[in-house]
Symmetry: C2
Subunit: 354 residues, 2 copies
């Protein structure tokens, strides 16, 4: 039976590593490709839909794929610390891999408005969190300045090893399906992931693993859709915090993936995202963070205008675990029924109509 | 490359299913066996330690292994609904698999003292949560009464399919190591899991997959240690809520696993659990819920009295994800440093001594 090894060991020949690279791994990757039972039923679809559920990576998001690469290379290059500006998934992944490698990890965040819950992983993995009196751009600029002049490695998404690691998700999909999907739907925030998947599908095709390439379909949140609107968004807003980014680092990569693949990048509203978030949990048993669900919200949009050809295979990336964002999970008006400790009262409350 | 299939498909020949069993799966199992880098260094160990990290199952705990079995069988047997008394991981797993199968899911909880965060998964997966004016035992008794007399299947751990599914974790360990470990350390709450692992190791040995069997070493929380104290604990107390159980359903199974394997069942304090919880996150990059860490706390105890033989292979089960319990994760006095948005101020705060 197969070993559950990390992505660097599994895909070494496709990654920029050497025999001397010390591999810092938490056995990330090899996440499940879960077929949707509910979407085809609900929408009478004549094609297959899979969720690539990246929430089951070690820190609960796809960021682990890139971080195993970034941290392994930082260690190889002799750095003693890593640093990032992040209020969420990147800081969690950076802190976890730093913890394991023995590198120090510094996380810079803008002051105010940061739910401590978003940072709880950074803290628990032992990162040093520093809040600055400035905004996110200020934090990222300080990280760049400091890492330029000190033996501290920047691990934000401009670190090129991140995308190298992330492309392995495309490899896994091809390995599982025995081919590339016809359409790959994916949330777009900083746009590194759509860039990485496209790189992965193309590279794997060069090696003869897949004969075809998917149309890459990216989805931004409507209040945070710089690529769709073709302009930097100064104050991006969306409940999907993991893709609340006004000026994506991999903007060009995303546009290139869209254009080369003949796909699209569109916006979905917070309402559409919330609908998808609830639907896939309540009907398919898959609980993903809101940003993840932009891909499924996008699918519904495409279904409504018959964009997807019958008989196709569609993969939707779900970028992170629903447990990452308990505030949203608890923000619905869930009913709390209280009854006496009595069989008939409980049966009444159950309202069994079987 | 291997497909990431669920445990029923993967281990069909070892499970009580037929060709007619409708498989309800979220591609659970195949969780990583992560080697500890930090424990051997910290304690100068002359043996290998692995974490079997069950927090990377679809709903974030080992319960998914049992629930895929219990729900598949409930569906096969024609039930239209499932039911459990649970305030935590069981309700999350039950709700998720019910969601996927189309079965209704009812979760009974005792009134008061239930953090809504513990139930957020049950809600999001669409279960109906009913609070009763009574305690946990009352809730469980009502579930038994109702499921005895109505077409609703009980999926608490007295459902025998749960243990059948859970035993597959032992299979995976043997498949990965190519042998059974010498010692298997595991948290003990309701005691179904230690029972299941022991069953798994024994069955796999009968099939010639492993030649030896591990010593099963179970660990209860000191304020909730009925098996250690050999008496029912009326009001069990521990921060490790997932093992806060005063009268384990699989008490006999646990004692049997201990005695047949020549192992032990002991108690660890909340302080020891907390230490392990922080250590494995801060030093090995693995973030598990407090109950999980009873196994690692137990290891330290055994190390201190030289219980483990040199050259051994030790596996510690980590039962659930650290994200399951944000309250504990945020209960530490984590430092929030705030500085001006200025390179020198940030560098001061970083206190770089590289």
């Amino acid at each position: 039976m197969p070993k559950k090894i990390g992505i660097i060991e599994r895909y070494a020949e496709f990654l920029p590593i050497t025999d001397k690279t010390p591999i810092v791994s938490l056995n990330e990757g090899n996440t499940p490709l879960i077929i949707s039972e509910a979407l085809p039923k609900e929408f009478n679809l004549d094609f297959k839909v899979y969720y690539k559920f990246e929430g089951l990576n070690p820190t609960g998001s796809f960021k682990d794929r890139g971080m195993t690469m970034a941290v392994s290379k930082a260690l190889e290059e002799g750095y003693k610390a890593i640093m990032c500006a992040s209020t969420g998934n990147t800081s969690a992944a950076a802190a976890a891999y730093a913890s394991r490698s023995g590198l120090k990890c510094f996380v810079l965040i803008p002051e105010g408005n940061i739910a401590k819950g978003k940072l709880l992983q950074a803290y628990r993995y032992g990162a040093k969190v520093i809040q600055i009196k400035g905004n996110f751009d200020d934090a990222l600029n300080l990280v760049k300045e400091i890492t330029d002049s000190h033996p501290v490695k920047l691990v934000n998404s401009i670190n090129p090893y991140r995308i190298q690691g992330q492309k392995t998700a495309a490899f896994e999909i091809v390995d599982e399906l025995g081919k590339a999907p016809d359409y790959h739907l994916i949330p777009v925030g900083n746009a590194g992931n759509i860039t990485a998947y496209w790189m992965g599908y193309k590279e794997y095709k060069e090696h003869g693993k897949n004969k075809t390439l998917p149309k890459m379909c990216g989805f931004q949140a409507a209040g945070s859709a710089p690529i769709v609107e073709n302009r930097i968004i100064e104050n991006p807003e969306t409940i999907a915090t993991a893709i609340r980014i006004g000026n994506p680092a991999s903007w060009d990569g995303a546009v290139n993936a869209r254009d080369e693949s003949g796909g699209l990048i569109e916006a979905v509203t917070d309402e559409e995202i919330k609908w998808a978030y609830r639907f896939i949990a309540e009907r398919d048993g898959v609980f993903a963070e809101p940003a993840s669900c932009a891909s499924v919200a996008g699918l519904i949009k495409l279904v409504k205008r018959d964009y997807i050809k019958p008989g196709s295979t569609v993969v939707c990336t779900l970028t992170g675990s629903g447990l990452k964002d308990p505030d949203i999970a608890l923000s619905f008006d869930d009913e709390v029924i209280t009854v006496d400790s009595n069989k008939d009262k409980v049966l009444d409350a159950m309202n069994l109509k079987l």
